[in-house]
Structures are given as structure tokens and as C-alpha cells.
């Protein structure tokens, strides 16, 4: 009699062959036959029966040993609280974080060091402030001394944030399934974003006490920021050029924008973008500017070989313009002499303006001088448009605004905008619709708080900005302040509307209250003589109400329902 193999005996012992054992349905007929054969053999063979018993004991021993080993030999980590694995979420978060940070870097660079500065100067220069040059010069002197450190600190902050976010992202997905593709994807997205065709260039900063010279043979493929005493740029700059110095000479070609702050500036190169220059003396000699010219200084001269494809906006004591201006010319100066060609309109506010022989104006001449005869025209001057004398600048300012259609259009737009914003505001934040002015001292207190908010918040924002790393916080503060300023009159208007309608019905609705209130406020703030004061009063009361609501947010009763 041949014994079954050890395999058959083991399977028999462990019911691996038993078709009646639980979960053995899949065995089928073949397994059942095998089990019966071994079963019949074991019944009559003592050796095999003994072997089966031993195998069963072994199985039990092995199971017990494995179970026991789990308790004693394997160190079980503390499971903590159950949290579903977040591989994908972490990956997404990491990617979003890197993306946002990269975007922030690009935004900061563009917004802060290109758009903001250039835009800010353009805006400042566009307002007719006699001391704009002095103010700008002071700001740039400050920037020259402190700006580099501010920039480096800002950059360091951004890099630190990037580093921390990246570390967080990597650590959260490290050693998890899919970590490698996650990291690769993150790096890929980050690299792609950074490597996108740049709106701006990399930045080179040169800060030297004495002088900086960019030789004619030199080409710089970045945006260049120079602070020094004497700057001489003979080479080409493939980017923007920002220079703050006492004397600046630019003869090379600049592919981007040119911004100069100095005592004396001489420009005779080719500028691919706009040119902003603040200086005592600004001279253009054989210069070719593709963009607009924004100039502010004491003496400004543009020679006959210079030209710009854009507009010229000039604010100075004297302006001698012999160049070719493709578009409009806007000038505010004590004395203006034009002998060049202007493609568009000439708009001048000055004491005296002369258009010498061969000067041409493609559009109108609109000028404001003390008397109409302060405009002197040469014999051969060509003016294709009309000449419009608008009187003294102060007379122009004092025109009656109520006679202008634009005034009513803007008021209507303000009303509609305020109504929509107010409806959204009081729908989303119903507690704002329940604010109320107290009696007597309480109202004065509210106004005082509003006044404090109105005055102190921008000061605080400026102080925060000076603390170098607070620029983003300062920006947010200013935005919040401006928003609150806008909302203040709406909040007060709603309060007024509610108070008026409360006498007519017990529950005045949001829409009629807002409508009535806004009409009253819009009329009040536009009243002659009193409008300004009422506007200020409405603003500080509204700000005070919002500030008090926010300050007392913890002690408010919870919203019903």
C-alpha cells in the first residue's frame, strides 16, 4: 500500500482537500475524489493518521506562534486618530502651493518693481503738484539708501516661503505611494511656470558709491538697477533700466523702459519702452523713444534729432522741445518753447508758450495761461487743428460741476453700484444691517472711532510697509481700508433709510431702506458748501459703526436660527 504524499496529507489535515469544508465549493469533483482517497487511506493507515495529527498540531502551533509573535515581537506603532491617506490631496496642495508662490514671485516682481513704480510715478507725474519733483526725489533718495535692503529682504521672504511650502509638500508625500511622480509633477509645474516666457527680466543690481560705467561693448541681458553717484551707460541693456544717481548719461540702447532719478540726465540712445525721468536737467540728444515720455524737472530739452513714437508729458520750469512727438504733448511749465513736430494735440498749462517757426501741431492746441496772448506763434507754424484757450487753470478748476452731464452720470453709477453692493453686503452680513447709532455721547464715540480708523489705518499701513517685510500686509491693509471707506456711506445710508421707514412700518425691508438711505446720502454729500463736511461725517460715522461692530463681535448674541 503506497502512502499519500506529504502534500496530500498536509492538505487533508488542513482541509485543503475537503469539499464540505467552508469555502471549499470551488474544489469541484476532482478535489472531492482526492479527499476521499486520502480519507480512506488514513482511516486504515496508522502511520499516516499519526502524520496527519502531527501536521494539524503543527498548523495550530504555527497559527498560535504567529498570533503570539504579533503581540510580543512586532513593535506596533501608535495608530493615533484615523485619517484617510491624503496622498493626492497633499500632492494637489503642494502643487497649488508651489504654483501660487511662483505666481506670487512673478507678480511681486512685475507689480512691485515694474508696474507699481512706473505706474506710481506716472500717476504722480500726471497730477499737477508743484512739489512732485521734490517729493519724488526724496522718495528715490530713500529708495537709493534703503531700497536695496528692502528688495533683498522681500526676496528673502519670498524664497523662504517657497522653501517652507516646498518642504511641507515634499515631507507630506515623501515615502508615500506616488511620491516620485508627485514630486516630479510639482517640480515640472514649478519649472514650467518659472520658465514661461517672462513678462519681465531677471534683475541685476549694481550699487556703488562712486561711478558705474557700462561700456559700449557690453550687453546686459537683464533688467538693471543702478544706484551710484555717476552712471554712464554706453552699452546695451536687454531689459529695463532703473538708475538713481547724481549724473546719468545713457547712450546705449535700452530694450525696455528707462527710469532715471538724478540731478542731470542726458539720453541719446534708443529706448524700447517708456521713459520716466526725474531730474533738475533732462536733455535728449539724438534719442529715439518707442514709448511715452514722462519727464519732471527744472530744465528739459529735447533736440531736433530726437523723437518719440508715443506721448510726451512734461512738468518743469522750462521746456525746449525741438523733437518729433508722434502723439500728444501734455506740458505744465513756466515757459514752453516748441519748435518741433507734434503729431497730436498740444495741451499746455503755462505762463508763456511759444511755437517757433517750422513747429507743427497735428491736432489742437489747448492751452491755459494767465492771458490769452501768452501764446506766441511763429510765422511758419503749422497747426492742423484748432486753438482753444481755456483760461486760467484755477478758473478751469472752479467750473460748476452741476452743469456737467458727467456729474449726473457718475452719481447715477455710484448710486446703482452702492445699491448692488449694499444689497449683497447686508444679505451676506445681516448683522451690519442691524447697527445703530447710540444717543448723545455714544454717537460722538462712534464718530470718533470712525475718524481714528480713517486717519490711523493708512499711517499704520505705511509704517508696516517701512518695516520691510510688511509690504504685502500693508497692501492688504490699504485695500481693506479703501473697501471700508467705500462701504461706510452705504452702511450709514441703510441706517438712515431704516430709521425713516421704521416710523411707517414695523419691518422695513432691505431694499426700500437702502434705496431711501442712498438717495438721502447721495444728495447730502453733493450739497453745495455742506457736501464735503457731510461726506466726511457720513464716512466717519459709517466707519465707526463697522469698527464698533467688529470690535464687539465676541460679545454679540448669536444669530437667531
Amino acid at each position: 500500500m503506497s502512502h499519500p504524499t506529504e502534500l496530500n496529507l498536509m492538505m487533508y489535515a488542513e482541509e485543503g482537500l475537503n469539499p464540505t469544508a467552508p469555502n471549499q465549493e470551488a474544489l469541484g469533483q476532482e478535489g472531492g475524489a482526492e479527499w476521499r482517497r486520502v480519507h480512506n487511506h488514513v482511516k486504515h493507515c496508522a502511520t499516516c493518521r499519526n502524520a496527519v495529527d502531527q501536521l494539524r498540531q503543527e498548523t495550530q502551533g504555527l497559527s498560535s506562534a504567529l498570533a503570539m509573535a504579533t503581540c510580543t515581537s512586532i513593535e506596533i506603532p501608535n495608530p493615533g486618530q484615523f485619517q484617510p491617506k491624503r496622498g493626492l490631496r497633499d500632492l494637489t496642495l503642494a502643487t497649488i502651493a508651489v504654483t501660487l508662490t511662483t505666481a506670487l514671485v512673478q507678480w511681486s516682481w512685475k507689480a512691485l518693481f515694474e508696474e507699481l513704480i512706473l505706474g506710481g510715478i506716472a500717476w504722480a507725474a500726471s497730477t499737477w503738484t508743484p512739489n512732485i519733483y521734490t517729493v519724488s526725489h526724496q522718495i528715490f533718495l530713500f529708495m537709493q539708501e534703503e531700497g536695496i535692503d528692502m528688495f533683498y529682504n522681500h526676496l528673502a521672504l519670498i524664497i523662504t516661503v517657497i522653501g517652507l511650502l516646498s518642504l511641507f509638500g515634499v515631507s507630506s508625500i515623501w515615502r508615500k505611494s506616488g511620491a516620485v511622480p508627485a514630486v516630479l509633477l510639482t517640480l515640472g509645474v514649478g519649472t514650467t511656470l518659472i520658465g514661461l516666457p517672462p513678462q519681465s527680466h531677471a534683475l541685476q543690481i549694481i550699487q556703488q558709491d562712486d561711478s558705474v560705467i557700462v561700456a559700449a561693448s557690453e550687453t546686459i541681458n537683464d533688467t538693471l538697477l543702478i544706484t551710484t553717484r555717476t552712471a554712464t551707460i554706453h552699452g546695451d541693456i536687454m531689459g529695463n533700466l532703473f538708475v538713481a544717481a547724481e549724473d546719468i548719461e545713457v547712450t546705449g540702447d535700452i530694450s525696455g523702459n528707462l527710469l532715471t532719478v538724478a540731478d542731470n540726465v542726458t539720453i541719446s540712445g534708443s529706448i524700447g519702452g517708456m521713459t520716466v525721468s526725474l531730474a533738475d536737467t533732462i536733455i535728449f540728444e539724438d534719442a529715439n523713444i518707442a514709448g511715452d515720455l514722462w519727464l519732471a524737472g527744472d530744465t528739459i530739452k529735447l533736440d531736433a534729432t530726437s523723437e518719440t513714437q508715443g506721448n510726451l508729458a512734461s512738468f518743469s520750469s522750462s521746456l525746449a522741445m525741438k523733437a518729433k512727438i508722434a502723439k500728444d504733448m501734455l506740458v505744465a511749465a513756466e515757459r514752453v518753447v516748441v519748435s518741433g513736430a507734434i503729431g497730436g494735440n498740444l495741451n499746455a498749462a503755462t505762463k508763456h508758450i511759444s511755437l517757433l517757426d517750422y513747429a507743427t501741431v497735428g491736432g489742437d492746441i489747448i492751452y491755459r495761461t494767465s492771458t490769452q496772448d501768452q501764446l506766441v506763434l511763429g510765422d511758419d507754424v503749422i497747426i492742423q487743428g484748432e486753438i482753444d484757450y481755456q483760461g486760467k487753470p484755477q478758473n478751469f478748476q472752479a467750473r460748476n460741476r452741476f452743469q456737467s452731464d458727467r456729474f449726473y452720470l457718475w452719481e447715477l453709477l455710484w448710486f446703482v453700484g452702492a445699491f448692488v453692493v449694499g444689497w449683497l453686503l447686508f444679505t451676506l452680513a445681516p448683522s451690519l444691517g442691524r447697527v445703530a447709532l447710540g444717543h448723545g455721547k455714544e454717537s460722538v464715540k462712534t464718530a470718533g472711532i470712525g475718524f481714528l480708523v480713517l486717519v490711523t489705518v493708512p499711517i499704520v499701513a505705511v509704517i508696516i510697509a517701512i518695516t520691510v517685510i510688511g509690504l504685502p500686509l500693508s497692501f492688504i491693509t490699504i485695500v481693506a481700508w479703501l473697501t471700508a471707506w467705500y462701504l461706510a456711506k452705504i452702511v450709514l445710508a441703510h441706517l438712515i433709510g431704516r430709521s425713516i421707514l421704521a416710523g411707517r412700518s414695523e419691518h422695513s425691508g432691505l431694499v426700500p431702506a437702502l434705496f431711501v438711505g442712498l438717495i438721502i446720502v447721495s444728495i447730502a454729500i453733493n450739497l453745495p458748501f455742506l457736501g464735503g463736511v457731510l461726506n466726511l461725517l457720513a464716512t466717519i460715522l459709517g466707519l465707526g459703526l463697522m469698527a464698533q461692530l467688529w470690535l464687539n463681535r465676541d460679545s454679540r448674541e448669536p444669530e437667531a436660527g
Binding site: 502512502h3 504524499t5 506529504e6 502534500l7 496529507l9 498536509m10 492538505m11 488542513e14 482541509e15 485543503g16 469544508a21 467552508p22 469555502n23 471549499q24 465549493e25 470551488a26 474544489l27 478535489g31 502524520a51 502531527q54 501536521l55 498540531q57 503543527e58 498548523t59 502551533g61 504555527l62 497559527s63 506562534a65 504567529l66 498570533a67 503570539m68 509573535a69 504579533t70 510580543t72 515581537s73 512586532i74 513593535e75 506596533i76 506603532p77 495608530p79 486618530q81 484615523f82 484617510p84 491617506k85 515615502r175 508615500k176 505611494s177
Partner: protein, 180 residues
């Protein structure tokens, strides 16, 4: 109790066993931790389909091995379990002496753990499935993509290797004891 609350209770109760199971498969604590976490995550997502009449251990013990096997395959540690199966069957005709006494006499759990951990994956995995998870032969066969006979072969080879390993350890201990 809410579903998430009930699951939290089960998680705390069964985490050690699931971790131990994953550890038996993957042999590294960090990987086992991740695998256990993944097992519970999958279980959490499918918790709506869980029938409370069925033991939770059986339910989750069917999830963990699949993930662990996937991990082994990803790590390149899962070899073809069918290689030389005929030759193995040929060699099994003669019954080998059982080492059950050695196994039972082994007081050192560490030796058994080491012996199991030293097994190749193709033996260790079915052994764990059979004697730790208590899956039946057909269940193991389905999981491993083979048939019940081959599962038997793998289990037998696994036990033989464990026996040999334990025997050698016991002999070495005896030898060292004699010298001392």
C-alpha cells in the same frame, strides 16, 4: 454612533493586527505602516458596503493582502510563484520527517519570526495568509492567481524551510550550550 465614529473604534481595535499582517508581508515597519494606513483608507471608502454580521477582521484581512501584494510587485520582490512547480511536486512524493516537536519546543519566538521573515516572498505570503489571516486554500489561490494544489505546495515548502531553519537554530544552541 455615526459611521466614522464606528470606523474609528474598529480602526483602533484592528490596527495592530493589520499592521502586523502588513509587516509580515513587507518586512519593513515604515512600509507596513503605510500599507496599514492604505488598507484602512480603502476600508473607510468601502465601509458602506461592510456587513456588520461578518467579522471585521475577515473583511479587512481581505483588503490588506491585495495591497501588500501590489506593493511587493511594485518593489519587484514578487517572483513567479509557478516556476518549477512540477519539479517541486516530484520531490514531494517522499514524506519528510516532521519537525513539529522542534517547532513546538521552540521557546524563542524571535527564532520563529526570523525563520518566517527569511522565507522568500512566494513562501512567506501564502504562509501568512493561511496561518495568520486563516484564509482557505481556494481563497489564497484566488488571491495569488493560482490553484489550490499549488497553494499546498507553496505552504509545504514554506513549512519545510521553517522547520529546517528552526532545527538548525536549535542544533546551534545545543552545540553552543555543550561547548560552554
Amino acid at each position: 454612533m455615526s459611521d466614522s465614529g464606528a470606523f474609528e473604534v474598529l480602526y483602533r481595535e484592528y490596527y495592530p493586527r493589520v499592521f502586523a499582517l502588513c509587516r509580515r508581508f513587507l518586512l519593513a515597519n515604515e512600509r507596513a505602516e503605510d500599507a496599514a494606513q492604505e488598507t484602512f483608507t480603502r476600508a473607510y471608502k468601502a465601509f458602506g458596503h461592510y456587513q456588520p454580521s461578518r467579522p471585521f477582521w475577515h473583511w479587512i484581512a481581505a483588503i490588506a493582502p491585495r495591497h501588500c501584494l501590489d506593493q511587493l510587485k511594485q518593489l519587484g520582490r514578487w517572483e513567479d510563484i509557478h516556476v518549477d512547480s512540477n519539479a517541486e511536486i516530484e520531490r514531494l512524493y517522499a514524506p519528510e520527517p516532521l519537525a513539529i516537536d522542534v517547532l513546538i519546543a521552540s521557546e524563542n519566538q524571535a527564532c520563529l519570526n526570523d525563520a518566517i521573515d527569511d522565507l522568500p516572498e512566494k513562501y512567506r505570503v501564502p504562509l501568512v495568509l493561511a496561518y495568520f489571516v486563516h484564509l482557505s486554500y481556494p481563497e489564497i489561490a484566488t488571491l495569488l492567481g493560482t490553484n489550490r494544489n499549488h497553494v499546498g505546495i507553496l505552504l509545504l515548502r514554506a513549512k519545510q524551510q521553517v522547520r529546517r531553519c528552526l532545527q538548525q537554530t536549535t542544533e546551534q544552541k545545543t552545540l553552543h550550550g555543550g561547548v560552554e
